[in-house]
């Protein structure tokens, strides 16, 4: 939708994946762009199949393996950007950018077993670094206003509230200059 508002200034550079770090539970976690292999796909399905329904947000992830697969098929397309947090051969978290007109809608999920360990911050920074390197300009999201952990994460990253009139907050971030402000290219300022 064209009437969404975004910050005027472009966000700082985010690190492009792959990156690796040790989480607060001393686990080695790797952030990597999603590769379309059966192993990666099934590991992601397994994460969502074991996802606590109380952490669903606005209807996603859906419940039940069949609906999880349908949803993933829609957001793992070639026009989307997907990043996974891997702990060994297990998917700990997933973040995605799905195209919406001239912008992208963002969502991020970290499995309950891996929450409160700093993975979400690395994961969203990795996703934004990936999108930034690929030339994504604007990102928006909605978040339930009572979800304070998520809201503070988004604020820390640089998202600004663009609409606070509904149950859900809408937030926006500018990753690269709009077209015309600079030459075609990566546009990274690092």
């Amino acid at each position: 939708m064209s009437d969404r508002r975004y910050p005027e200034t472009v966000a700082d550079g985010f690190p492009a994946p792959p990156t690796e770090f040790t989480d607060r539970e001393d686990r080695t976690v790797e952030i990597r762009p999603y590769e379309d292999t059966e192993d990666a796909y099934e590991s992601l399905v397994a994460m969502y199949d074991a996802f606590d329904p109380s952490d669903r947000a606005q209807g996603i992830p859906p419940g039940g393996e069949k609906r999880i697969r349908e949803w993933l098929d829609a957001i793992l397309g070639d026009d989307c950007y997907n990043v996974l947090a891997w702990c060994g051969d297990e998917v700990a978290g997933h973040a995605t950018l799905v195209p919406d007109g001239d912008a992208y809608e963002l969502a991020i999920f970290v499995h309950q077993e891996y929450q409160r360990a700093g993975i979400g911050t690395h994961l969203i920074r990795g996703l934004l670094g990936y999108g930034q390197a690929e030339g994504v300009r604007k990102v928006w999201l909605t978040v339930e206003r009572w979800n304070r952990a998520a809201v503070s994460l988004y604020k820390k990253i640089g998202f600004e509230t663009s609409n606070a009139e509904s149950f859900e907050l809408e937030m926006g971030l500018r990753l690269n200059e709009d077209e015309g402000d600079e030459d075609e290219g990566d546009g990274d300022g690092a």
């Binding site: 606005q58 949803w71 963002l106 509904s166």
Partner: protein, 122 residues
Amino acid sequence: MKVLCGIGGSDDSFRALDRTVERAAVANDDLTVAVVDNDDSAVAQAEVMERAREAIDDAGIDADVRRVEGDPGSRLVEIAEREEFEAIVLGGGHTSPMGKITLGPIAEFVLLNAKTSVTLVR
């Protein structure tokens, strides 16, 4: 049951219309379809009225279709109270490209302010 179905022309409102009409045919509801002025809708009010009448004719039921001017949420609540409707039915929300559901301002207002039960159709 005396049912007030509020529609403004969004996709989810048409889904609510179809389901409510279907149910009315089976349950013999006393149905009124209120076509509200939804700024977020791309479909003109006259066209929405037409869609509502078609749905009602197709189902072979007798229902009232009326145009409602003014602020949609508060008008629906007011009509439901004044005319003693037992339930209000609305669309269940817009689905984003991601698959996230967001409720529009009309549904929010009605949910919080109606004295009747409110059904959001998914």
